[in-house]
Symmetry: C2
Subunit: 177 residues, 2 copies
């Protein structure tokens, strides 16, 4: 089942991301995403994104479901939760403003790897696959920059997860010895 963001209970649509450009600009000074964007490119991108608000406890991304959008958290915090082998939810990470969530399914359309649950009232901008294709076709300059940002983001995560995997394997090895 493909869940669209608008189908999630209690999620309130706030319009396109243009009124949030100031907030997005604040955020990108804190994180490294989108920092190569000129002001007019950021506005161009914001026209394509949709903003939403969700109350605490909302499961905005649900593990195992198909999904084709990513979120950029603008306000509030969320928890990333994944079920362990016994089916018990384990908190994997906490995400605050400027954090992107769900980009793996945006890219490959495969089922969600983990769930994202709002801890406070959260506000976020949404980018889905159809919109990403539209940006690339209609605004190739912005499209290429956006893809570059996504590549940097995945790459950063891959480096950090791989380093954690090696640490974990090392710790197991020294425990076995």
């Amino acid at each position: 089942m493909m869940t669209k963001i608008a189908q999630i209970p209690n999620v309130e649509f706030l319009g396109d991301a243009l009124p949030f450009v100031g907030r997005i600009r604040e955020i990108i000074e804190a994180i490294h995403l989108f920092e190569d964007f000129e002001a007019d490119e950021l506005e161009g991108l914001a026209r394509y994104m949709r903003c939403y608000r969700a109350p605490p406890g909302s499961e905005v991304i649900c593990e195992g479901e198909d999904g084709d959008f990513m979120l950029l958290l603008l306000d509030g915090n969320a928890e990333i939760v994944k079920k362990d082998v016994r089916g018990l939810p384990q908190i994997m990470a906490r995400a605050g403003p400027g954090k992107t969530l769900g980009e793996m399914s945006l890219i490959d359309g495969a089922p969600r790897f983990a769930s994202c649950i709002a801890l406070d009232a959260i506000e976020f901008a949404v980018l889905d696959r159809e919109t990403l294709s539209r940006i690339i076709a209609e605004e190739p300059r912005i499209g290429v920059k956006l893809m570059t940002e996504l590549l940097m983001l995945l790459n950063q995560r891959l480096r950090s997860v791989t380093a954690r995997l090696l640490d974990c394997m090392e710790a197991r090895r020294s425990r076995i010895r």
Copy 2:
């Protein structure tokens, strides 16, 4: 230090990848990379890539060095080796034809995460950052497809490494219990 592929001892330059398009087409039928490329796009891409041959034992990518290129293995096998906390080389994986190596540094220019050492005589095509930028500027349609492939590739790796990390953490947890 930024190591260019041509600086590595015993590496022999074979020209652009155009004569290898047939081989590349064979390979992409076996792997999922580049399968969205039309024949003419694949030829367009091949014009930008450079092919090389290296003898067994060549360290074509060297852990810790700066590097800005990725390889597509066309023939032969390589080992991916990373030093552990004690500085001892550990074999992490083996790569055969169709496998890409070094794409993380192509994207972010950060030092190489691991080394790649030829097990046999290997042949490979090289794509560096400057060429990637040139493709995007000169052949945006091919550039976008190439970036899409890189996104899919990193995404696949991220899913698989994350799954391995969770397994490892689970195994440690059950051992501690």
